[in-house]
């Protein structure tokens, strides 16, 4: 078993693995997302939410977490060319946008293959 | 640009058929593993156009008792010649 830590949200104990990903994907809700974001020093605003919602729809449909390239194209396709840019997403989600945004959106931890 | 195709399954598999559909006339085929059962099969070899060179991996033919029954069209090659064939052709496509 991977060692876990817990964050308390609305009286619920939410288990995180040591990389900060949800142990149970079903634990995700908007309050959990807000809390996961704050662990990354990110305060969620509507610009973040539209990407988070897009990612969750993408995951539910395709059962995969997109790599950065696919995320950029996904945002470009669904939110328009102004937002479908690495630089825009990097401002919203520091580090690797696909990884950070996937974590906050409650998607599974990537297998490090890509 | 010529290409070496390796085929590793027996005639029942239809793997050779797939390979032959997309092969170019100056390519070559090397039968390996269970693929060497093609080496004694007139039907298999007839399906391969004359310009395509046909090889069989000697070690696999020996193991499967197909070395002595192989048809003249097939040139038995050992693994070191397999390596040479890979470098003599521009690329290798493995059918398995």
């Amino acid at each position: 078993m991977t060692s876990t830590s817990f964050i308390e949200i609305n009286g619920r104990e939410i288990a995180l693995d040591k990389d900060g990903y949800l142990v149970q994907l079903a634990d995700w809700d908007e309050d959990v997302a807000t809390s996961l974001a704050s662990e990354e020093q990110i305060t969620l605003d509507p610009a973040h939410w539209e990407v988070i919602n897009l990612l969750r729809v993408f995951y539910n449909r395709h059962q995969m977490s997109p790599a950065n390239r696919a995320l950029v194209n996904l945002v470009k396709r669904d939110l328009g060319p102004d937002k479908g840019k690495s630089i825009y997403l990097m401002k919203l989600f520091r580090g690797s946008p696909a990884k950070t945004a996937s974590k906050i959106s409650g998607l599974p931890k990537p297998e490090n293959c890509l | 640009m010529s290409c070496l195709h390796t085929v590793n399954r027996s005639p029942d598999s239809k793997l050779l058929e797939s390979c032959l559909r997309v092969i170019n006339a100056d390519d070559a085929i090397l039968f390996i593993e269970d693929g060497v059962y093609h080496c004694a099969s007139k039907i298999s070899l007839q399906a391969i156009v004359e310009t395509v060179k046909v090889y069989g991996l000697r070690e696999d033919m020996l193991a499967r008792a197909t070395l002595s029954t192989a048809l003249d069209r097939v040139e038995p090659v050992d693994t070191s010649r397999f390596v040479e064939l890979c470098s003599e052709h521009d690329k290798v496509v493995s059918w398995f």
Binding site: R61, M64, R69, N73 | -
Partner: protein
Amino acid sequence: MTENANTAKPAKSRITFISRSAPYGNNRANLCLDMALASAVFEQDVNYVFLDDGVYQLLKGQDAAAIQSKTLGNALETLALYGIENVYADQQSLKKRGINRAELLPGMQLIDSDAVAKLIESADTVFNL
């Protein structure tokens, strides 16, 4: 990726993937897709060809939940998002299996055997499984 200073090679190669296996019964279709997506992430020039039983991957309406598996057809829909535009289905393989164009996922270009041969010929590397 590790760069080796004494091997100056172009940063881009042309890779043709031939996906020849039906989904679910074994993992070859998934391995092929994983390789192609990785190639796209590393910005290689990718061609993706569905041949033989591989065309079964393209059927619309797959739902693999009942066999505890991810639905491959839904994953294939992401090829375009990964920048893989050259996606082909072999006409003869479809015909042999009685599959009509209308039954296929969108975005497939139907090609004949000669065109598949050309995609093999023009590639630097071919992955075929």
